[in-house]
Symmetry: C2
Subunit: 233 residues, 2 copies
């Protein structure tokens, strides 16, 4: 009972799902490890991409397809709550893509991605790829809590979102290997401090790499492709 107004809020009580969540997370970690081994058997590395809706994950993958189509083979697992829109955009670039729709859930989990890996393996000639990109549901919060079996995790913030985002959404930065600042062509038009964004990200995660890119203007795309080459070595 609320001590202030007497109503039955259960204020201050912890939700009762903690233990269930704990075992769910543990189960998820285990399946994530299996996904990782599965991806490695395909000769690939997996990259989990996390951002807000509309930060530019699909646009970056489209540009990556244009740049790498003759040198690197990759496939994409698209996570969305609804629609096949993102997978259709990727397929239009000649890249194999599997659409996972979560039917309401706010993140991908390892079990769903396990399905996606099987499906991707099935549609790729010989079942072999260099890279599997996993484009998570557009959400800067929940996906950060679920390991999918990725070798690298990327968190992306677009310039219009604002440079305060690392401080406000810390978990996504703590758990990521690379912080991509996207839509960099918009930097002259927005009050976005690259310095603030990077220093906050590095305060949370001192070893996080940073790239500032714009698939539209081409800025930083060479460094992005170098980053991918580095992972494949």
């Amino acid at each position: 009972m609320c001590e202030k107004c007497g109503c039955q809020t259960g204020m201050g009580t912890k939700p009762k799902v903690i233990d269930v969540n704990k075992s769910l997370f543990e189960a998820n970690e285990k399946i994530g490890e299996q996904n990782r081994h599965h991806v490695e058997r395909m000769g690939a590395v997996a990259i989990n991409m996390i951002s807000s809706p509309g930060a530019g994950k699909t646009t970056l993958l489209e540009a990556t397809a244009d740049a790498l189509k003759d040198s690197v083979t990759f496939g994409v697992i698209e996570g969305d709550i609804e629609t096949e829109k993102d997978a259709q955009r990727i397929r239009a670039k000649g890249i194999p893509a599997v659409q996972l729709t979560t039917g309401g859930a706010c993140h991908l989990d390892a079990s769903l991605v396990h399905h996606g890996i099987h499906e991707l393996e099935h549609i790729v000639p010989g079942g072999r790829l260099d890279i599997i990109f996993i484009e998570n549901v557009g959400n800067l919060v929940c996906p950060a809590a679920f390991y999918l079996g990725e070798h690298k995790r990327i968190v992306m913030v677009s310039v219009p979102e604002g440079s305060d985002k690392p401080a406000k959404y810390p978990r996504a930065f703590i758990g990521s290997d690379l912080f991509v600042i996207s839509k960099a062509d918009l930097l002259p038009y927005f009050d976005f401090s690259v310095e603030e964004a990077i220093s906050e990200a590095r305060r949370l995660n001192p070893s996080i790499d940073v790239l500032i890119i714009s698939p539209k203007s081409g800025q930083g795309m060479d460094k992005w492709l170098d980053y991918l080459s580095g992972i494949l070595k």
Copy 2:
């Protein structure tokens, strides 16, 4: 066991938290109703604002403070995972603001907002307000599932995010009264179809109102203020 590769994924099994979630949602609805009555006793209406990170919720509230400070009294309950940044921005406009930090959780729930209402009531002279804005955690997914006791729910999408967002994040639109397209001053520079955004939103929710606004250029701000007056009548 996965039928395809034999690994122990538990593929296809439903998470075991369904019943727990159901009772959590029921408890949340009940506290939400109490919040609503509490807000009404303060003479106010409550507005729950939902969007992706960086869509411009705080900026709209800052502009609303400038426009209404002599005619309407309002307070703000800010929901964030971490930091007091948004509440500080609102207080700088002379508006009472309470910061709720969820400590990792991806949404506000009714119990947390109940705390916020008490705190706001405490800092407002006489405990009376015309409007309480509840700025939810930046997330277009999870906040849509939690009724906070609001009289109106607003979903906001900014132009840089793209006009496919209603189709991709349906629940936020199904449950909202007003769809705000923000950062409208950027329409000339982005491939954002206002027609697509509105028609998808109305396909999901035929009675949803729509406003196209830019606090920066002033576009649509008169209609936004009219909308608020209409709620107060």
